[in-house]
């Protein structure tokens, strides 16, 4: 197939891919470049080379606090979304409930609604019904937008599993709980793992809900960065951003090792 592509098109596609890579990766490269600059001001290409902005970040209570909150919330979201979404996916997959199709649509619906609309609704409703927002509130709202991903990845692996496993387990004497725990859950694991990665990443990077639901003591890392960018960006923002990029790279590496990145990307 590749052989029969005209030569000029092949050259064109190499140029095209290179340009696309530049568009996609340029902002990340620039951020990393700025972070190692010696200069007081944001400059790219960087002047000189230093890690002073990193040490400044690591001694900044604002950044460390925000980072800690981000991690706490992301871990909560990962746990909530994986448990709740995985259980729901099993129920949807079995198609034994009379409204299974509706159920699937309900669980995937947060995917369709723009986050900003949900964020306003959540802000108004929560503060009027339950008072000021807490980290748990924010984690619950992140869970809502992460839930469809967990449901989708789990449904995908369940769809590929042998449909007779549960029946086979019944003929081997497994009761309800044993079937769930020893047969169904192990089949879900790759999907749950992919969903957990999605959930962690979505929560850790999420800025819209976190901006609407922020509070004096509830500032996540993206919100902290957004605030800096609106008012007084300095190279320390680049250092924090670079740390976030590095975390993403680690996450991608782990995902590729555990699940295969190409497969994950098509989920």
């Amino acid at each position: 197939m590749v052989k029969s592509v005209p030569a000029w098109l092949r050259i064109l596609s190499v140029v095209f891919v290179a340009l696309t890579a530049l568009i996609l990766l340029a902002p990340l490269i620039v951020v990393v470049g700025v972070s190692v600059s010696e200069s007081q001001f944001i400059a790219f290409p960087p002047n000189g080379l230093s890690l002073r902005w990193y040490s400044q970040v690591l001694s900044s209570n604002a950044y460390l606090g925000a980072g800690w909150i981000s991690i706490q919330i992301a871990l909560m979201v990962t746990g909530f979304a994986t448990l709740i979404g995985g259980a729901a996916a099993i129920a949807i997959h079995r198609r034994q409930l009379p409204f299974s199709d509706v159920l699937a649509t309900v669980f995937l619906s947060p995917l369709v609604l723009p986050t900003i609309i949900y964020a306003i609704g959540m802000l108004m409703f929560w503060s009027s019904a339950f008072g000021p927002v807490s980290p748990v509130t924010l984690a619950l709202s992140h869970t809502i937008i992460a839930l469809p991903y967990v449901v989708r990845t789990t449904l995908a692996v369940l769809a590929e599993s042998n449909p007779y496993l549960e029946e086979a387990a019944r003929t081997m004497g497994a009761n309800r709980l044993q079937r769930l725990w020893f047969v169904v859950v192990p089949q879900c694991i790759p999907g749950l793992a992919a969903g957990a990665f999605f959930a962690f990443n979505i929560s850790f990077d999420e800025a819209v809900l976190s901006l609407f639901l922020r509070g004096p003591t509830l500032t996540t890392l993206p919100v902290q960065i957004y605030g800096q960018l609106e008012f007084s960006p300095d190279p320390s923002v680049a250092a924090v951003s670079t740390i976030m990029i590095a975390l993403t790279i680690v996450l991608i590496f782990v995902i590729d090792r555990m699940l295969g990145l190409t497969k994950f990307a098509s989920a």
Binding site: S161, N162, Y164, L165, E167, A168, A169, R170, T171, M172, G173, A174, N175, Q178, F182, V183, P186, Q187, I189
Partner: protein
Amino acid sequence: MANVRLTSIQKSFAKTAVLHSISLDIASGEFISLLGASGCGKTTLLRIVAGLESVTAGAVEIDGRDVTGLPPEKRDIAMMFQSYALLPHLSVAENVRFPLRMRGIGNREEQAERVKAALETVQLGHLSERKPRQLSGGQQQRVALARAIVSKPKVLLLDEPLSNLDARLREDMQVELIEIHQRLGLTTIFVTHDQEEALSLSDRIVLLNAGRVEQEGTPAQIYSQPATGFASNFIGSANLLPAEIFEGPDGPVARFADGQALALARTETARGAVTVALRQEDLSLSAEGNGPRAKVRTRVFLGARNRYVMSLAGQPLRALTANDLDFADGQEVSLAIDPARVRIIRD
């Protein structure tokens, strides 16, 4: 080991009846085949014995105990699925141990011993630590068999277990199934659409058609005395030709639509319009002869044998012959058949 008794089993899916009042007595230690084309209800019947499907009416008894309302996990059965249904996350040994673990049979050492014995029975002792996906289809099949026999169930249910194997492996597995059945003496219900499998494995065959028992009997009975047109067509895929029986000078004669006649056994009592069943392998062909003449349409080379497709009285007629018999397309050949081998089905 136990007997199984099915009493007037009926099953409907959303008002469509798939099983019409089926009753069956299966003796302890018997190997019985449910044979039929796809959609005849044989798998549904098996699943009803397993408890995976409820009955619309009727009762299932295992070992003298009514189990109609019991879920599969409470019936002492084992089932082998067409797709094997091995648990992909467990090793071979863990798969085989699964029924023991779920049923709480024996302690860890006893379980390990029984797993080892079961795996040796199917000659897979050396692969116990592999995962199912690292095994060939035939090996997976053996694991499934080991898993089915390890708990020494009262009834062993086999749902077309050989249909995913290639011809060679299938023959090996048939021999192995017979040996295991002889050794363990498990009451076995075997579902298949393959008449050869049913004929070679079973003590008894139940031929199902459209949710009813068409005929039941030993393999020899089913093969040599098919009771109905369906049975003779399904077993040995006989040629079915409409004919009329007259009293000839030398006994009864079947006359086909084109006036040609075929001599029948003197003991044949039927007269008038019937269907004549002629087995492919019972027909012999010759260029010169005084039997009914058929026109060769085409020859199919099968290796060890030839199949000739001919036409007789406007009907297709197939015959299996030795592979050195050579007729040209369009040639007229003479048919001969032992009158005792001709089956007459009254319309």
